[in-house]
């Protein structure tokens, strides 16, 4: 029995009080395809970052090829034989395939770039693994599938024996996925070790030899693919303690507050949303489940009006808002809690009071009305802010504290306080409890339920199945930009949602293998 290609032992990592990895062990055997599975936030990205030298672990050891490594950066990892193909490609669009592949590790004759050797190398690797790359093609013109192959050859060029693929099929068409699997198989058969980081069960079952499952930073399952079922994998990935907030069930369901019909979004040749439709009524919370990257954010932006759509319509309270800008959609009755609180939800260099007042700043009491339209009262801004701060228990020195100084949970409370205070008929909440500590999560959940009980509609987009189960009256699942399943509350079991989230439902008609 040969040595494993790599062994990670006891890897732990905390970020700002949140545990990303908790004593994780991972053994990668040579010549195998090893899948690392988990939901968002399970810790698989952190683990791979550590393995590739992008981050240092708080504790634990990494042994590659029999030697313990102290990785100070990706260069060290590359030198040790590791290669990583990121989910978001790092390619130079203006350069050729050969230039991209050899960048940073160029064959040269003196000062000159040895293009011929580079091209030969690309062709050689390409043939060996069945990749079919043309060294002189310009990368910017290539499809996502081919660009990914360029990334793979990049890693192979640096003599990677351990190839880490991070969510590789996210941007591929089904045919491209098949081709990729063929490449992965060839690589493994040739003696390389391939680590496949993914949440897609059917892919894991199709191509991997071994599986390690992570949940909340810990390893919850180690399997040989040939001996495990999809159901076991789903359980290992998604099983969780039930959250204590009780959803007493729906009250009165009212009229349709939000209607999305046939929304399609294309971005750079990739379809992010394909013909998505949904209806949301007053008095209900509609959950949108799915692993990050399956079109949820594009859906939120399409509803808000912050991004272009190529087809479809959006109606708020019966009004067709498809041609309207963000301000008018909000005026029609929309509030949005975006998932990126620093990039979209707040202005970190402005005060808490100012952040809380955006959207209210053109109406009384902060803004004027009638003759005083367009004016703004800083004192009203402050007093309103004080009210919200007290109401939502936002821990801040004062309302004048810069939002950038607040902790993640408190910054999130600012966003929530602001958006809920609009009392809009339709509230879209995207990952509302992301990066928030447990105590605050409960209060946020309570708020959302109260919001619904006041007769309003909530669209809750979340990666956490348990959160959806606690709050949603209905759950739809987005996968690869489509709605692939819908469950009323009673049928929204972890197993079914999890299966749909991982694409199983699409392939095998809703039944687990």
């Amino acid at each position: 029995m040969t040595d494993p290609a790599a062994t990670l032992t006891g890897i732990s990592k905390r970020y700002d009080g949140v545990v990303a990895n908790d004593s994780v062990d991972l053994v990668l055997r040579r010549g195998t395809v090893h899948a690392v599975m988990g939901e968002n936030g399970a810790g698989k990205s952190t683990l791979m970052s550590i393995l590739f030298g992008l981050t240092a672990p708080d504790s634990g050891t990494i042994v590659v090829g029999g030697r313990e490594l102290r990785l100070r950066g990706p260069a060290d990892a590359i030198a040790a034989g590791l290669g990583m193909v990121h989910q978001h490609f790092r390619l130079f669009d203006s350069m050729t395939v050969a230039e991209n592949v050899v960048y940073g590790a160029e064959p040269s004759r003196g000062m000159l770039l040895d293009r011929r050797t580079a091209a030969t190398r690309v062709r050689e690797l390409s043939d060996r693994y069945g990749l079919g790359l043309d060294p002189d093609a310009t990368v910017g013109r290539l499809s996502a599938g081919v660009r990914q192959r360029v990334e793979i050859v990049k890693a192979l060029h640096r003599d990677a024996d351990i190839l880490i693929l991070d969510e590789p099929t996210a941007v591929l068409t089904p045919d491209e996925v098949t081709s990729l699997f063929a490449v992965i198989r060839r690589a493994a058969d040739a003696g390389s070790t391939v680590v496949l980081v993914t949440h897609k069960i059917h892919e894991v079952l199709a191509i991997s030899d071994e599986v390690t499952v992570l949940r909340a930073g810990r390893v919850t399952g180690r399997f040989l693919t040939g001996e495990v079922t999809g159901r076991e994998l789903v359980e290992a990935m998604t099983g969780r303690d039930v959250v204590s907030v009780v959803n007493p069930g729906r009250g009165e369901i009212g009229d349709i507050a939000l209607e999305v019909d046939g929304i399609t979004v294309h971005e750079r040749g990739v379809t992010r949303l394909a013909d998505v439709s949904l209806q949301l009524r007053r008095g209900e919370i509609l959950g949108v489940a799915g692993v990050s990257g399956n079109g949820q954010h594009e859906l939120v932006e399409a509803i808000l009006g912050a991004a272009a759509t190529s087809a479809g319509s959006v109606r708020i309270e019966g009004r067709n808002v498809t041609a309207l800008d963000v301000r008018r959609r909000r005026a029609a009755g929309l509030a949005v809690i975006p998932e990126d609180r620093r990039g979209e939800g707040t202005a970190i260099t402005m005060t808490t009071a100012e952040n809380l007042s955006v959207g209210h700043h053109r109406s009384a009491p902060i803004g004027g009305s009638g003759a005083r339209r367009g004016w703004l009262s800083p004192s009203a801004q402050r007093s309103e802010a004080k009210r919200l701060i007290a109401d939502y228990d936002i821990r801040t020195g004062s309302e004048q504290t810069l939002v950038g100084s607040l902790s993640g949970g408190n910054a999130q409370k600012v966003v929530i306080a602001r958006e809920l205070s609009h009392e809009a008929p339709v509230l879209v909440a995207e990952q509302p409890t992301q990066g928030v500590d447990v105590g605050a999560i409960e209060s946020i959940h309570r708020r959302l339920l109260d919001y619904r009980d006041a007769g309003r509609a909530v669209l809750l987009v979340s990666h956490e199945i348990s959160e959806l189960q606690a709050l949603a009256d209905r759950v739809i699942v987005l996968y690869s930009g489509r709605v692939v399943a819908e469950f009323p509350k009673e049928e929204a079991t972890t197993a079914r949602i999890g299966a749909a989230m991982t694409g199983v439902a699409e392939r095998v008609g809703g039944e687990l293998p």
């Binding site: 963000v326 100012e354 367009g374 703004l376 800083p378 020195g397 100084s405 607040l406 902790s407 408190n410």
Partner: protein
């Protein structure tokens, strides 16, 4: 800084930390460092830095030249406004010169053609200047929104074109025939801004500019538009999500900035010697002094008059410094440059401190 950390640290340190984080401290630090660097340079040249700085202050605040100092201060403030309004949105307006001369041109044309009595002509001239220069400044907005040409680039490229056009007009159609320098005819009396008794430099124009600055301060702090501009400057994406109209605000901000510069140009032309002289609007350097003042103030309306005063004092006092302490007046340019550079570098240190969490 959360509540907890505020509680656990000793009192004096809290004040110091809070003081360091106050937005006014970064520019103060930059100024202090610049003054130090300037002193070193002066000393290295074998001259006396203390005498030099004393002479600067003396020269600027000498009762006889206070009139001139105030006038320079006012023009610097006006041009600082032209830079500060877009800066609040996170944009650089490098087209102040072009906007300035267009304002002067508009004032000349109106003053020469207007049949109205004095006060009304002056008012009309100011309005025309604001409209022409404002429209010119506003061109950059659709260029940015629709053609994605950054404002810093379009203003940079448009400015010399405006300067050339005005220079041409002053030399040929509007020029005073037979004059030694290229200049327009002296403006008719109706186009003279009322001056203050006995003062040869400061006139009503100073009050007009102060009014503009107050207006800016009010709009910035007490109107929805001002708030939205600051929101865009803080985080553009956040502003978009919040429903702020980026295109419209950009247009308004650039128009206002151009108008401010245009009004300064009009005021200069309607003050002694009551002519538009080719190159005379640009050569005093109010535009870049104003830009420097705006940068130093971080675009904040309350700090603008202070930073503008700093640069005005340097400029005016520079002549006196040269006479009494024998230090070349170019030291004021040196100090301006050092202040800006130090400011750029210090802002990075500051940015590293806020917002680690979230």
């Amino acid at each position: 800084m959360t509540n907890e950390s505020l509680v656990t640290r000793p009192l004096p340190k809290r004040f110091i930390t809070a003081a360091i984080r106050h937005p006014a401290v970064v520019p103060l630090g930059a100024v202090f460092l610049a003054v130090l660097v300037g002193a070193v340079i002066v000393a290295a040249a074998g001259l006396n830095p203390i005498a030099a700085y004393a002479a600067v202050l003396e020269g600027a605040f000498d009762p006889r030249s206070l009139d001139y100092t105030v006038s320079v201060w006012a023009f610097t403030c006006g041009m600082a406004l032209a830079a500060a309004i877009p800066l609040r949105m996170g944009e650089f307006n490098l087209g102040g010169n072009g906007q300035l001369v267009l304002g002067g041109l508009a004032a000349v044309v109106v003053a020469q053609l207007s049949p109205l009595p004095g006060v009304l002509t002056a008012l009309l001239a100011l309005i025309a200047a604001a409209l022409l220069a404002g429209a010119f400044g506003a061109i950059s907005a659709p260029l940015a929104t629709r053609f994605r040409i950054p404002i810093i680039i379009s203003t940079l490229l448009l400015s010399p074109v405006a300067v050339a056009v005005v220079s041409f007009l002053v030399r040929y159609p509007l020029g005073q025939p037979g004059a030694a320098v290229a200049q327009t005819e002296r403006l008719p009396d109706a186009g003279h801004l009322p001056s203050f008794a006995g003062l040869s430099y400061s006139n009503l124009g100073v009050l007009i500019i102060i009014a503009m600055m107050v207006a800016f301060a009010v709009v910035d702090r007490r109107t929805a538009v001002g708030f939205e501009i600051r929101v865009l400057g803080a985080n553009r994406r956040f502003g978009t999500y919040g429903g702020v109209h980026v295109g419209r605000l950009t247009f308004g901000a650039m128009a206002a900035a151009g108008a401010a510069a245009g009004i300064v140009g009009a005021i200069i032309v309607m003050s002694p010697p009551y002519r538009l002289i080719d190159g005379a609007l640009i050569s005093p350097g109010y535009t870049f002094a104003g830009l420097a003042a705006a940068l130093l103030a971080g675009g904040r309306p309350a700090l603008l008059p202070v930073t503008a005063a700093l640069f005005a004092v340097l400029q005016v006092g520079g002549a006196s410094m040269e006479r009494s302490a024998d230090v070349p007046r170019q030291l004021s340019d040196v100090l301006q440059g050092v202040v800006i550079i130090v400011l750029a570098l210090r802002t990075v240190l500051d940015a590293r401190r806020t917002g680690r969490s979230g």
